[in-house]
Subunit: 421 residues, 2 copies
C-alpha cells in the first residue's frame, strides 16, 4: 500500500465544495427490521385499551426451561469468568458429542465448534464457504433472519419458491437446478422448517445431496427443530456419508430445550477445513459465554427426558391447530409435519392489511390475535401476500380461542370489505 | 431473478469434464489463526518436560472476577431462559447508561445496543458503515482480532504505521491523511491501546476528530481499557460533541471487571441511524445471553469499587515491568501509559525465532517464558520483526522472574548466534 498512489485519488473528494453527507452502508439500509416485530408495538397499545391479545406471531416457547439448568448455574463453582476456548469448553464439546450421538450422528469432538446460538453458526458457515457476492440457495418461505446473516456476511440468497399446495415440500431436482449459477456455493435449508413446519422426506434431502455432489456445492442444514417431527423422522444431512466433505450441520439448543436466552449453538462438519475455518472465525470473537456452556451440559448429556415432553406438547398443539383450521372457511392449509409453525393462506388479498386491522381495530369479546404476515418470510416481491405464519406458543385453550377469533374476524373483514366496495 | 437468465451461464460449469475441487471461500483462507496461539502448543509440550513456563503472551486477566457476579447469578429467580430484547435487557441498558454516566459520557438508553462482547460491537459497527471493499484506517501495531472482524464483514483495513520511538503515538494529521482513499469510511482505534499500552492525548484524539469532519468519516473508538490509564486520563470519542453524528463507542466489560467469559459489550452512538442499524443486525442474532446481562448489572451500576483495585494492581505491574526493562541490555521500550501491554524491541533480527527458541529450547533454572511475537499485530509485511508484546497477566514476583529470564535468554541467544556464525 503506497500512500503516494493513494494521494492521486484524493483530490476528487477534497475538491468538492461540500463534504458528502454522512451515510451508512448500503447493507445497513437493506437490513430489514424483523417483520415479526412490525405489529408488536400496535399490540402493546391495544392491550393498554383493555383488549386481550393472543400472540401467534412469535417463536419464543412459552414452556418453562428445565429446572436443571438453573440448578447447574447455582452450583457452578467458578472464581473467574475466564475466556473459554474459542471452539468451545471441553465440557460443552463433550456434551454436544454425546447429544449428537444420541441422535445417531457420530462425530469427533474436533468436528464441533460451539457457537453463540445457531445464528453465529450460520454466519460462520456463510463466511467459511462464501466470498462477497457468492450465492446460497434457500427455499421460500424461509427463516427471515437468514436475510440478516446474509447481509452481515455479504452473501446473496437465491430463493426457490415452494408451494403451499404440497405443504411447502421441495420441487423436483430439475426445477431447483435452474437456480444454480456459477456463484452458487451451497444450499441453506431448515429441516424441520421454520416457518412452514415441513419435514423433508429422506428422498427430498437425498435430492439435495445429489445436486450438491453434481454441482460441487455445500449443504448447510439448519436442524434446530430436529426433535419436533411428528410424521416420520427428520433426516439429518449428517446421515448421508457420501457428502461428509460438504455437509455442514447448524444446530442450536434454543428451541428443543426451551433455553432461547442461553445462546448456545454449534457448527458441525466432517470436513476439517470447514471446522478449522469456523474455529478461526471463532478466535476473532474469542469465546462463547462460559456460564451457559456449562449450564446446558446436563441437557445435552441426556436429551430425551427434556425434549420428549416438550415435543409431545407441541404435537398436541399441532393437532389442535390442524383440526381447528378445518373449521375456518376459505383458509388454505396443510398438515405441518414438524416444528411449531404453519403458514396458512387466508381468503384475503393482503394478509398484512388483515393482520393490521385485526390487531388495530378488531375485537371479539374483548380479545384479538396478533399474526405474522408471511410476506416477511419471502424474498421474491409479491409472494405470500395472502399468507400468515402461526406459531404454537400458547396453551391449547388459548390456541383454540385464537382460531375462533380468526374465524370470526375473517367473516367480519369480508363483510367490511363488501360494505366498503 | 429469472431462472432463464441464470441457465445461460450454467453450461460453462456443467461442461467441465470434472467437478471443480470443493474449496472454501477466499476469506476463509485469509483468516489467520490467532498469532497468540502459535507457540502455546509448544509451551504445553515443554511443561510436560518439567519446565515452568511464564505466560507473558495472553490477555486473560489473572485476577479473580468480583464475587458479586456469582452471587447475582446464584440469586437469579428465572423460570424460563427467554430471548432477551435484541438491543439488550432493560436492566442491562440502564446499568450501561449509569456506568457511562459515571465515566462522564451522557447517553440515552436508546443510544446503546448491548452486544456479545466488544467483538460483536465492532462487527456491527463495521457492517453499519462499510460495504464490501470499503476501508477503515487502523494504527499499526493494532489488536490482531480487528483482522478477523474485517474478514467477516468484508472490510479492508489500511494500517498507518506507528513508531516505537515515540511510544506508538499517532503521527501528524498530514501523514494520516495520506492513507485516506475514496473507499475510506472511518478510523478504527483502540485507546488505551492493545497491544502498545499507549494512551492518546486529548490533542491526538482531537486530530482524528478533525480529520473525520474534514473527510466525512466515522470514528470507531474501542475504549475497553478506559480505566487503565496511568498517565493522565483516556479521552473518550464521546467527549467531542462536534462529532456526535460520527462517533461510535465500542465497549466491553471483559477487562475492566475481569469478566472475559461473560461476553457482554456495547455499541454506543448519538447517531440514531447507527444505533438503529446495530439494533437490526442484533435482531438477526436475536439476543445476547440473558444470565450474563443480569449478572453484570451490579458492576456497571457502581463501577469504581471494582475497577479501581484492578487498575491499581496493573499500574504496579506496569511500573515493575517498565523498571525491569531498563535492566535488560539492547531492549527498545517506552513507558506504556495504559492498558496492560507493552510492545518492546529486542536486540534480535527475528523476534519470532527468538520466542520459539525461548519456549522450545531455552531454560533458566528449569524455567522459561512464552512471548507474543509482535509481527501478528502488524498488517504490513516486514513490520515489527524484532518486536514482541508482553502482557502483564502474572503477579509481580512472576513478572520479575520473567524479566530476569528474558535478560539471561537474550545473552545466551546472542552467544549461540556468534558460535553459529
Amino acid at each position: 500500500m503506497a500512500p503516494e498512489a493513494v494521494l492521486e485519488t484524493r483530490p476528487a473528494r477534497s475538491g468538492r465544495a461540500e463534504a458528502p453527507a454522512l451515510r451508512l452502508s448500503q447493507r445497513a439500509g437493506e437490513m430489514q427490521a424483523s417483520p415479526l416485530r412490525k405489529l408488536a408495538a400496535i399490540a402493546e397499545e391495544r392491550k393498554k385499551k383493555g383488549i386481550r391479545v393472543y400472540h401467534l406471531n412469535i417463536g419464543q416457547p412459552d414452556l418453562p426451561t428445565p429446572p436443571v439448568v438453573f440448578e447447574t448455574i447455582r452450583s457452578l463453582n467458578l472464581n473467574t469468568l475466564a475466556y473459554a476456548p474459542s471452539n468451545g469448553m471441553p465440557e460443552s464439546l463433550s456434551a454436544w458429542q454425546r447429544y449428537l450421538e444420541a441422535k445417531g450422528i457420530k462425530v469427533d469432538q474436533k468436528e464441533i465448534v460451539v457457537t453463540s446460538g445457531g445464528s453465529e453458526a450460520i454466519i460462520f458457515a456463510m463466511c467459511a464457504i462464501c466470498d462477497a457476492g457468492d450465492e446460497l440457495i434457500v427455499f421460500e418461505p424461509f427463516y427471515t433472519n437468514y436475510n440478516g446473516f446474509a447481509t452481515i456476511a455479504n452473501v446473496t440468497l437465491r430463493p426457490v419458491p415452494l408451494d403451499i399446495a404440497n405443504g411447502f415440500h421441495l420441487p423436483p431436482a430439475d426445477v431447483i437446478e435452474q437456480y444454480i449459477t456459477p456463484r452458487t456455493r451451497g444450499f441453506l435449508f431448515c429441516n424441520p422448517s421454520n416457518p412452514t413446519g415441513t419435514v423433508y422426506s429422506r428422498g427430498e434431502v437425498a435430492g439435495l445431496v445429489s445436486l450438491a455432489q453434481k454441482h460441487n456445492l455445500f449443504l448447510l442444514s439448519d436442524e434446530v427443530y430436529r426433535e419436533f417431527a411428528y410424521e416420520g423422522v427428520s433426516h439429518s444431512v449428517m446421515s448421508f456419508p457420501e457428502v461428509a466433505d460438504r455437509a455442514i450441520l447448524l444446530d442450536s439448543t434454543s428451541k428443543r430445550f426451551n433455553v432461547c436466552g442461553a445462546r448456545i449453538g454449534a457448527l458441525v462438519s466432517h470436513n476439517p477445513e470447514v471446522v478449522q475455518s469456523a474455529f478461526k472465525f471463532g478466535m476473532a470473537r474469542l469465546s462463547v459465554a462460559t456460564v451457559e456452556q456449562l449450564a446446558l451440559v446436563p441437557l445435552l448429556n441426556s436429551p430425551e427426558q427434556y425434549t420428549r415432553p416438550i415435543a409431545e406438547e407441541f404435537r398436541r398443539r399441532r393437532d389442535l391447530v390442524y383440526g381447528g383450521l378445518g373449521q375456518i372457511e376459505g383458509v388454505t392449509f396443510y398438515k405441518p409435519e414438524g416444528a411449531f409453525y404453519i403458514v396458512i393462506g387466508l381468503p384475503v388479498a393482503d394478509a398484512e392489511h388483515f393482520a393490521r386491522w385485526l390487531i388495530e381495530e378488531y375485537e371479539y369479546e374483548k380479545e384479538t390475535v396478533l399474526l405474522a404476515p408471511a410476506q416477511g418470510f419471502y424474498a421474491t416481491p409479491g409472494k405470500g401476500l395472502n399468507e400468515v405464519r402461526l406459531a404454537f406458543m400458547l396453551n391449547r385453550e388459548s390456541l383454540q380461542r385464537s382460531l375462533l377469533i380468526i374465524k370470526e374476524a375473517l367473516k367480519a373483514y369480508s363483510r367490511n370489505k363488501r360494505s366498503d366496495s
